[in-house]
Symmetry: C2
Subunit: 458 residues, 2 copies
Amino acid sequence: MLNQEFIDSLKQLVGEDRCTFSPEDMVAYSYDANPEKRAKPEGVVSPLNREEVSEIMKLAYRYDVPVTPRGGGSGYTGGCIPVEGGIVMAMDRFNRILEVDKDNFLVILEPGVVVKTLQEEVDKIGLMYPPDPASTGFATIGGNIAENAGGIRAVKYGVTKHYVMGLEVVLPNGDIVKTGSKCIKDVAGYNLTELFVGSEGTLGVITKAVVKVVPKPEARRTMTATFSTLEKAAEAVSAIYATGVRPATLEFLDRISVEAVEKAIGFGAKPEEGALLLMEVDGSDHALDSEVEKIQAACEQCGVITFRKAESDEDREDLWKARRALSFALCEIATEWEDDDISVPIARIPKMIRKLDEIAERYNIIIANFGHYGDGNIHIGMTTGKDGGPFPKQAKQDVVKAVVELEGRIAAEHGIGCVKVENLHWNIDEPTMKMMRSIKALFDPKGLLNPGKVMLKG
Amino acid sequence: MLNQEFIDSLKQLVGEDRCTFSPEDMVAYSYDANPEKRAKPEGVVSPLNREEVSEIMKLAYRYDVPVTPRGGGSGYTGGCIPVEGGIVMAMDRFNRILEVDKDNFLVILEPGVVVKTLQEEVDKIGLMYPPDPASTGFATIGGNIAENAGGIRAVKYGVTKHYVMGLEVVLPNGDIVKTGSKCIKDVAGYNLTELFVGSEGTLGVITKAVVKVVPKPEARRTMTATFSTLEKAAEAVSAIYATGVRPATLEFLDRISVEAVEKAIGFGAKPEEGALLLMEVDGSDHALDSEVEKIQAACEQCGVITFRKAESDEDREDLWKARRALSFALCEIATEWEDDDISVPIARIPKMIRKLDEIAERYNIIIANFGHYGDGNIHIGMTTGKDGGPFPKQAKQDVVKAVVELEGRIAAEHGIGCVKVENLHWNIDEPTMKMMRSIKALFDPKGLLNPGKVMLKG
């Protein structure tokens, strides 16, 4: 229960209209995109500026109140769920793009700006903000930075951390720190920026960011290629990389995913097609035809069954159809799926898929795999099917073990949050975990900022 | 003076042949590429493996002995100079490339490997390690990581931090931590890797690294373009960027640099040519002709005086001649130069150059500017000339102030080291500095690891 003095002080600080403690309101702040995890806060506050964030943190520290920052609430691992109660700090008022500096390829903005808003704003003047997770329409840049979000263009353009040049962050003690700069080359002091990126809001509250943008590619080409097996597709990927062409997007669907989509929307997959690659190249229009030819030749070397090229925007939509229909198609197999987001060194994707096949067989479950082949990132969906009974939780642990055996990571782009916190030790050994805990304790000695996330208390 | 017990323990730990305390030997470990800074250690030890590094750190902690790690000793800011005495930890025995993983575009190696050795090793199998500082022939990868080295390809390929995927680091307390992974997408725990990159060996001793490599570009093209002024060159750079072409290299020489080189080697510069751009594009052979055309058109729009394209390797060497001859050419103006390495947001280079011109006038000195235009990184040479008397130190402070006025950084790619440590506060405000000091104290409570570097004690 929140202390009444704390509540009164908070109301006095931000005014009654920017904080709420009513039980009904709490529901809206109790979840993210994870289907299972739920926890209600005891209060919600929407600060207006960094000074308020700082005062709220100091107040929370005085009264030992947990504070959970929240952006768009679109995460998959419960990173913004207030598992220890306390207050949610909703960053929705921090929604301004402060400056678009075209000459220096920079944007200065507040964390509550929706990623798509940023993308559309810079698109108007011929620039691109590359990180492109599926949730761009509602995820905020602050959440993307906190989770180091990835997306479909990471294979060529990298992930969110590659675009964050500087941050303004309020620390749990109320100090306001400024990290990084507007300069591409910057070795002045420790790199605190990238310590905050991906720290899931456990070290400080982001109140401003400087992000890098790039010239928008002149053109792009979209292709799909199908193969009998994922091993064959993997050979094609190696052959493509050997040509020196770096696709901007390199997505894959495994056999179960392909079959599900075929059943759902009939996109023309033949029974022998057990793997699909969806690829895009972008850059100077002049160069792309030759890149497409190289990719096609590489696929043909490796036994491609069907190779399709988009000749128009309509064609492109058509090629994306299978990938886009996937979530819907999988609902035909089962309404309840256990999802996971993992990564392995790229060349080990086929091995990982074989291990997943073994797990499916071991537990008599269905596993559908798809995701970002080009950066080794697999999204795994597991289910016992429509009438299959309860999901064998042990299968999830087997996935973790398989990931670790291949030197992969249990979290690729969706964070650890509170959902995977008990598994982090599979990736992080004890001396390193100890150092991470010390860093957390240094920034947040009382453990009040987004508690229960990233790692267990020591 | 080193405690005799410490010396005896160290000898026992590594054997007499891998440590030395003789005054003559100390000279070799007292300097780096900085012409002024010198400080001798009291002992030098060359550990063979991480366990020895760990034991040495523990021993140093027991006896309060400063430890300064050293790679190739090619830094410019005294990062490896043992300013507080103690021992130098020479990483020369850590010189093995442990694994080249072609399929996953990774190399695992020890920190004492010379950067050029790494580059040549991967070149043999069609791969490239992009960071390319001028010192690749003798700088080590450990030193490059510690300093977050840049170089001439950063404009397209980024700096060292973009290629470090994971590290093994021995902490001052002897703990061995493992950061990062072999995976492109990895959000498992805090990003400690990038906290170590650029921390100049003040937080831990790197004993192993996983670095990313990329497919070697199929081809490249080299061009030079001259303009009447750097402002004109700057317009051309904006026009080039607007085409979407991203050069791999975009170097510049200002008027004094151009004139010096012309005088020294006669490369054909006309008196009206007051700025030179040296550019390279790389990628698929097919695409490059069109990129060169676009660059040429952009330069022509902006009043280029002479545009040259290399048609052969010989031509390329010829175009690089002016850039390569620069150090030598500047020696004709003066033998003693005060060098600096700064960066500004790229579009502000002309403004920065104007400020430098004003400083030159104010103190009646000569300032030659050159460097990596594409990433806003200016190398500044300042001198009073051959018989010009002592250098006015205040001019250096004026440079710092000019940098700060343009939101630039006082250190771009050469580190802070011990040379710029008193100026860091110009870039880092007090709350942020306090956090950096706390991080240093967390890792190294006694302040024994590479003391006197990066920042002043609080």
